[in-house]
């Protein structure tokens, strides 16, 4: 059976990046962070019953910026996890880090407490891009961080953002190439998407920011996929590439394949037994609830059969595993399936609908045909 995973959300960043709409606050006040660590400990404890008779096989500490935490704080979290839940011996344990302040010692410490995969927020290997994205690290610090992680034999993912407004195919190709040279086992390449209520979003509304064209974005998407495939990567999810199946991000796969996971920390999402719930996106509220022994849960819903069907469809369009034909629940889809296959959006292999590269590019819209 597929084992569940655990996600921990660290809701702090040094400064908010202008494109980011994840929940985090820019805060480095130790007392608040300490209070959060303490509250998180309580939340972990709340779920000890849920964890009974279960063996987890992934931990993912993300955010926000987990590197805001010091070693002691990380240790406390991990200790709480280990003492409350059971984990399989091959647990995939990922932590998200930014390139700045990465030292050999820090990585060794993480390795010692069980972390075996680092997701590095490199975002770009071009100084101009980093400035544009208001990132507080340099290309060099990125490369150094990669070197340290690789030398300590940790699995490495690097996050890259592309389709910046001025970016040309050539510029992006160079970044991709430089990234591949560093030999990460995994690359997540996201297009810069402009969300409302972010500084970029507001600039876009005021027309002082222009996204690159649909055409350009599509071209860069195919370029990315073609290039990385040529270099031996498997394009296994819309934005994710790995050198082989062993390095698919086991934790993220749980999201796409509807395997159970427990999310802890503000704004974290959980999924168990066809129930989804999420926590308040508010550190203060989160802490005060946990401290008074109340679950910091904001919403919880039991999925209806219909909702389950719907999820299978749209999650299926995101990965190479695709959707089983028997999961198509509306009538008369034969003709649509046939047309989409003819037009190169999908392939049908053993009654499984597998999105093509082009299909990935349209993974947002294709589900509409099947709901």
């Amino acid at each position: 059976m597929n084992k569940p995973g655990i996600y921990i959300h660290i809701p702090f960043c040094k400064e908010k990046c202008p494109y980011c709409d994840f929940y985090s606050i820019s805060c480095q006040k130790q007392n608040i962070i300490e209070e959060f660590i303490y509250s998180l400990g309580k939340e972990i404890f709340f779920y000890q019953n849920l964890g009974k008779n279960k063996i987890f096989d992934t931990i993912y500490i993300g955010g926000g910026s987990p590197d805001i935490l010091n070693e002691k704080q990380i240790f406390t979290i991990v200790k709480n996890l280990y003492s409350t839940f059971k984990f399989s011996s091959d647990t995939e344990f990922t932590i998200e880090l930014n390139p700045q302040n990465i030292t050999r010692e820090k990585i060794m410490f993480l390795k010692d407490i069980g972390v075996n995969r680092i997701s590095l927020g490199v975002q770009s290997l071009d100084e101009k891009d980093l400035k544009f994205l208001c990132r507080h690290h340099s290309v060099l610090s990125g490369q150094k961080a990669i070197e340290i992680i690789r030398s300590l034999d940790m699995a490495l993912n690097i996050d890259l953002i592309y389709a910046l407004p001025y970016q040309t195919k050539k510029m992006w190709l160079k970044i991709l190439n430089d990234a591949v040279i560093c030999e990460p086992q995994h690359i997540s390449a996201y297009q810069l998407t402009i969300k409302d209520n972010t500084p970029f979003g507001i600039m876009k509304m005021e027309k002082s920011f222009k996204e690159s064209s649909e055409k350009k974005q599509a071209e860069l998407f195919f370029l990315t996929s073609d290039f990385l495939e040529e270099k031996g990567f498997i394009h296994y999810e819309v934005s994710n590439f790995a050198i082989n199946e062993k390095y698919f991000c086991r934790h993220n796969m749980k999201y796409w394949q509807r395997i159970f996971y427990l999310g802890l920390g503000p704004s974290a999402h959980s999924f168990f037994n066809e129930e989804r719930w999420s926590n308040y996106s508010d550190v203060e509220k989160y802490c005060s609830l946990c401290k008074t022994n109340i679950l910091p849960m904001e919403k919880k819903e039991k999925l209806t059969k219909q909702q389950t069907n719907l999820e299978k469809i749209y999650l299926g369009f995101r990965t190479k595993m695709g959707i089983s034909e028997k999961d198509l629940y509306i009538d008369n889809t034969e003709k649509i399936v046939e047309q989409l296959e003819n037009q190169g959006f999908i392939n049908i292999i053993n009654h499984q609908i597998i999105p093509t590269k082009k299909g990935f590019l349209f993974s947002g819209g294709l589900p509409f045909y099947f709901i």
Binding site: Y7, Q191, K215, V238, H269, R276, E301, Q339
Partner: protein, 598 residues
């Protein structure tokens, strides 16, 4: 029974029937003055909005005549518009006489004659009433001449009246009691009642309007409807005042309503005969002639989930509008629906509006069409009112379409514009004359298909609302028509097919292609829109596909956000139709159906 008088008020449209009814009702004193409003019997919203009567309406009134006796009058106000002529014929089946109202300034018109004929066929006593004598343009002598020459009635019998000013009302009431005979029939014979109208009430079931020809009926009686042979126990009987008033019994000669717990509307047929279960009559009454629709269109629910609800609404609606006919229909593009027949364009609009407002239905109607007549190579004649059944073009030897005699009333300054429209719409043999200073009447012959398209809107806009029109069927004439199909990515959208005059086809094809391009959103796949006659494409447009979708990250396992979005889209999809792989919003269909023939 000797003191009952059943009569209808009939006339051409706008000659003042409902206003005359108002005065007679006021005279009876049954409604307090402060509760009174003009055209009080026109109680449907759509009647009040448009200022015309659409449904016949019965009201029971007491009258103390000069002979000192108390009479009970059943007055039926009828519509004057030709589209509701059927309402008149049903009303007259319950009457012994009519007031034939003639506008003193307009004189005898088409529906004056048409309605008179129905009254004569029913052997009813006819009392001519010359109304609106208060108007400065009233020409009583001319109208009297017309009564003699055109109607073959005695002009000396005509009563002068101004319904508006309340002049001549007493005379009319006296004529009603003195000239119209009391109902005949025998109270001791088995019950014979004619169902002439019905209405569905959610609490009481079907409320049947009925004229008793023999016998009597009271609560507790077991009755049967002779055509459906279904049996019910009478719960309540009553008469129509402004509202229903229950009475102990309805006996021979009277007009009233019956409630008998009839939940299934299909048990009641307008024109059916009611009799007693234990003591039935052997022969049922003649009933009504079937109405003959001239305009046809299909009705679909906006959301296919609402099909059953629409079906139910139509059955209930039909009870209250016997002229409306419908049968099941289905379309690849729009799913299950109904093919409907109407007596004219106004009738179609009324049905549409009442279904929407009174029955809360969201519906799509396809392009109205007339009945074409095709002679095919083996000599057979086919009558086609649905593009779906258009015959094989290679076998068509001759096609004919219905023409009407059109009359337009307009201030003279719009004459030029109207003549131009008349020519654009294939009008021929035009004639015109002045009906009074500055006011013209234009006559021409025109295909009905041009009238049902956008004639009304166009005339109103050309004449700033002052023009009005009236038409009657004349004959079928040879014509050159084609079937125009609309295809999306190669799939024929049957609901958009139309039979159209060949020369109009190109313009319309272009219009439809453009409209669809405007209203169908861009999608993942390319959308080719084509308009074709047979296999020949005569117009096309293309909607280019998206190049990509927004690629959202489902970060931290937040699946819900995207799911909520899809749930919303799914909700929206109910208002869309999937044709092949193209998704077409309903409003695209609606937009096309509304295109003007520019």
């Amino acid at each position: 029974m000797e003191n009952i008088r059943n009569f209808s008020i009939i006339a051409h449209i706008d000659h003042g029937k409902s206003t005359l009814a108002d005065r007679i009702i006021q005279h009876s004193g049954i409604i307090p003055e402060r509760e009174f409003r003009n055209q009080i019997l026109d109680n449907m919203d759509i009647e009040r909005e448009r200022g015309i009567t659409i449904k016949s309406q019965t009201i029971n009134l007491p009258y103390k005549a000069k002979d000192g006796k108390e009479y009970l009058l059943n007055l039926i106000d009828t519509p004057g518009h030709v589209d509701f002529h059927y309402e008149v014929s049903r009303a007259l089946a319950s009457c012994e006489g009519v007031l034939l109202v003639i506008d003193a300034s307009q004189g005898v018109e088409a529906q004056t004659i048409a309605n008179l004929f129905v009254a004569m066929e029913e052997n009813l006593k006819i009392i001519p009433v010359i109304n609106k004598i208060d108007l400065p343009t009233a020409d009583i002598d001319k109208v009297k001449q017309q009564i003699e020459k055109e109607l073959d009635l005695n002009p000396n019998d005509a009563i002068l009246c101004s319904a508006k000013e309340g002049i001549g009302i007493e005379n009319i009431l006296e004529a009603i009691v003195n000239q119209i005979p009391p109902p005949r029939g025998n109270i001791d014979k088995p019950l014979t009642g004619l169902v002439f109208d019905a209405r569905y009430d959610i609490f009481r079931g079907t409320v049947v309007s009925c004229r008793i020809f023999d016998g009597k009926i009271k609560p507790g009686d077991s009755i049967i409807f002779m055509s459906t042979n279904s049996k019910f126990i009478v719960e309540e009987v009553g008469i129509f005042r402004l509202n229903k008033v229950s009475v102990r019994e309805l006996s021979v000669g009277s007009v009233g309503y019956i409630i008998a717990g009839i939940k299934d509307v299909n048990e009641v047929k307008i024109g059916d005969t009611i009799t007693l279960f234990n003591n039935p009559v052997s022969l049922s009454l003649a009933g009504f002639r079937e109405s003959k629709p001239v305009v046809f269109s299909s009705i679909y629910p906006v959301s296919s989930e609402d099909y059953e609800s629409l079906k139910d609404a139509l059955a209930k609606y039909k009870l209250n509008d016997a002229a409306f006919v419908y049968q099941k229909d289905s379309s690849v593009a729009l799913g299950l629906g109904f093919r409907c027949g109407f007596l004219g364009l106004l009738h179609l609009e009324v049905v549409q509006e009442r279904l929407e407002k009174e029955f809360n239905q969201s519906i799509i109607m396809t392009i109205p069409t007339v009945q074409y007549r095709f002679t095919i190579s083996d000599g057979q004649t086919l009558t086609i009112d649905n593009p779906l059944y258009y015959p094989d073009p290679s076998k068509i030897k001759k096609c004919e379409e219905p023409y009407v005699n059109m009359t337009i009333y307009t201030p003279e300054k719009y004459f030029g514009a109207i003549m131009k429209m008349c020519i654009d719409k294939r009008g021929i043999n035009s004639k015109f004359n002045y009906i009074r200073q500055g006011q013209m009447e234009i006559h021409f012959e025109i295909p009905l298909s041009e009238v049902i398209f956008d004639f009304h809107d166009k005339l109103k806009s050309l004449t700033q609302g002052y023009g009005s029109f009236d038409y009657e069927f004349s004959e079928y004439r040879e014509s050159d028509v084609v079937k125009l199909d609309i295809l999306i990515n190669g799939d024929k959208i049957d609901a958009l097919s139309m039979i159209i005059y060949k020369e109009n086809a190109y313009k319309r094809a272009r219009g439809v292609c453009e409209k669809l391009k405007e209203t169908i959103p861009r999608q993942q796949i390319r959308i080719d829109i084509q308009a074709a006659i047979g296999s020949k494409i005569i117009s096309r447009s293309t909607i280019s596909p998206f190049r990509k979708d927004v690629i959202a990250k489902c970060y931290g396992g937040d699946i819900t956000r995207k799911r909520k979005l899809l749930e919303k889209q799914k909700e929206g999809k109910k208002k869309m139709k999937v044709v092949g792989s193209a998704i077409i919003p309903q409003n695209a269909f609606i937009a096309v159906l509304k295109i003007e023939n520019e």
